[in-house]
Amino acid sequence: MFKFLLSRVAVLIPTFIGVSIVAFAFIRLLPGDPVQMLAGERVVSPERHAEIMHALGYDQPIIMQYLDYIWRLLHGDFGTSIVTKRGVIGEFFKLFPATLELSFCAIIFAVALGVPAGVFAAVKRGSWFDQTVMGAALVGYSMPIFWWGLLLIILFSGTWHLTPVSGRIDLLYFFPKGTGFMIYDAAVSGQKGALRSALSHLILPAIVLGTIPLAVIARQTRSAMLEVLGEDYVRTAKAKGLSRFRVVGIHALRNALIPVVTTIGLQVGVMMAGAILTETIFSWPGIGKWMVDSVFKRDYPVVQGGLLLIAMVIMFVNLVVDLLYGVINPRVRVR
């Protein structure tokens, strides 16, 4: 077990270095620099510009900047935002609950619909239900998130006035000592209508973010089920006179879930990318929106540190999925 964890962590190190280089280089490849972006319309004299850049250390050779950045990282210093002057780590943990809440609800939405849809499609293979689900999955998979988000906003917020357009909760409500998880904060606050408001803000972004995972999970579940339903042990389960529910829902699904869990884990990475778009569309104050804003402001430390922290989250989730895989698959269980 310990050895397993150690080997996983060893693999992470090169990944980590790779991400740090990419994050570092990507933001510097964009035209402009933080000082210009901060100044905006105001004119900054070249002397003043050079002075600030020197103060920030951005006049050093690029390799020195990178080494300095790594050196600070090794000391646990993720840097300080040029714009807000606040620490990157602090900002991250302030905004992370919003993204976590959104992603969590999106994945719940995707799993809760995708797994049953895939199971029924496999059981009723070739039926109109199967064809509808697989057709919808194909559409969902290739859906441009931006377009899909705007479409839902136009329908649900614009035409039907069912949901708010943006944010996490009505301005009426404010939880100064909250955990950052709005659903939880609203629920425990006891304020009338708070939970309802939080949920109505959450539902559209969660659907938008969960759409691609939903499509992928439904397809993966269907194909895993189709494979498993032909196995001898499913025939044994039938031969025992078990109900159809036990045969499909226990004996077959239990085995089909093994590849599905892996897929769900991989979707977390995809969702982080999706969160950037979704949070921007819905003005959801999370990590995704933070990253986009920081890129526009060329806030070098935030982009560098933020991407690295996101990568760590994804790696952590993948590690959890790997461990979970051992739990749900007795054949690879680590003893």
Binding site: D232, Y233, T236, A237, A239, G241, L242, N255, P330, R331
Partner: protein, 357 residues
């Protein structure tokens, strides 16, 4: 009253290249406590017939029958729910591939206990006690420990023992054993077979034993059905079948037994069981039958009376109505004539066997 009666059971698969009748007009009557063998080469529809009876075939299969009755109850008219009260309880089945037949995600104990809970309504504690009992009955040492083992931790022989424990858990009246030893090591095969026969005798349970092996039939069954290309070509008591096989296919199977082989080499039956694409006309055995003539290729053979082993043949062995000179060569005791289609006639079924035993 017979335990199980089947009349005219047929199974047709819908395949990409059209319908394929894998089982054709199978009959069977089994009395309580009786052991009936089904023999035949690979692909002769032995498994499919029994899976059809149990309702375990995929959706692409259509199962039809005139009668399927178990203890006088008409299984054809039953709802699925009613049928599930018989399947797995009164009729149990074990399979060819024990390792693949156990669910890799659940422990042996869970899979046995599940049957007990489903059919006998035992609670957790009682099911556990009974499971341990069953495991020791099927000869598994340290049953408490084995209960928690996952199938990948069990050998083939152990897996088959677990399958047997599961099958006998609810005291079935009929056990269908589909080649229970084929996938196992030779040394284990005899043990498993002995175990099955012991359990059968102790419990007075009827058993249908499917096998390739005529030797196993000789040791175990009272009656035997010889199946070829989905049809039952001969039905006899075991004693009579070994004395006087009536269908040429049976003769060939007997001649292929290692114990009966003559002249060093093990004879085999040339050719293979016809599949979907190469079904011959009239008698399905005619391309491989040394006695075949024009009539065999054009007229569907009749079912002979019981004295002639109910053979599905125009010219049952030992009762060929043709004058001796009209019988095609290649069926004498020692001839080595090439068969039709260029296959070598390495099979020499003695016209009147019995001397070689």
């Amino acid at each position: 009253m017979s335990l199980l009666t089947i009349r005219n059971l047929s199974v047709t698969f819908a395949t990409a290249s059209g319908p394929f009748r894998a089982v054709d007009g199978v009959d069977m009557t089994i009395a309580p406590g009786e052991v009936v063998g089904i023999v035949g080469e690979s692909g002769s529809g032995k498994s499919v017939a029994m899976l059809g009876l149990m309702g375990l075939l995929p959706d692409s299969a259509t199962v039809t029958a005139d009668v399927i009755s178990f203890e006088g109850r008409d299984m054809l008219k039953m709802s699925n729910r009613e049928r599930r009260k018989i399947i797995g309880k009164d009729i149990a089945m074990i399979f060819q591939e024990p390792i693949a037949s156990l669910n890799p995600c659940f422990t042996a104990g869970y899979q046995i206990g599940e049957a007990l809970k489903t059919h006998l309504g035992l609670d957790k504690k009682a099911a556990r006690r009974r499971t341990i009992e069953l495991l020791s009955q099927v000869g598994i040492p340290e049953p408490e420990r084995r209960m928690t083992a996952y199938p990948h931790q069990l050998s083939g022989g152990m897996s088959q023992r677990v399958m047997i424990a599961m099958a006998i858990a609810c005291e079935p009246k009929l056990l269908i054993a589909d080649e229970p030893t084929t996938a196992l090591d030779v040394t284990i095969q005899a043990q498993i077979l002995d175990l099955l026969l012991d359990l059968q005798r102790e419990r007075g349970m009827a058993m249908i034993l499917i096998t390739h092996d005529m030797g196993v039939i000789a040791e175990t069954a009272e009656r035997v059905v010889v199946q070829y290309a989905g049809q039952q070509v001969e039905r006899q008591s075991v004693a009579n079948l070994f004395e006087t096989p009536r269908h040429p296919y049976t003769s060939a199977l007997l001649a292929a037994m290692p114990e009966r082989a003559r002249g060093g080499r093990l004879p085999t039956i040339p050719g293979v069981v016809p599949g979907q694409g190469d079904r011959p006309t009239a008698c399905l055995f005619n391309p491989r039958c040394p006695k075949a003539d024009e009539r065999c290729r054009t007229v569907v053979p009749p079912r002979q009376p019981a004295e002639l082993g109910e053979a599905l043949c125009h010219y049952p062995v030992g009762a060929d109505p043709r004058p001796p000179e009209a019988i095609p060569p290649g069926f004498g005791p020692l001839s080595r004539q090439p068969l039709e289609g260029g296959a070598r006639a390495s099979t020499i079924a003695p016209e009147v066997p019995g001397d070689a035993r």
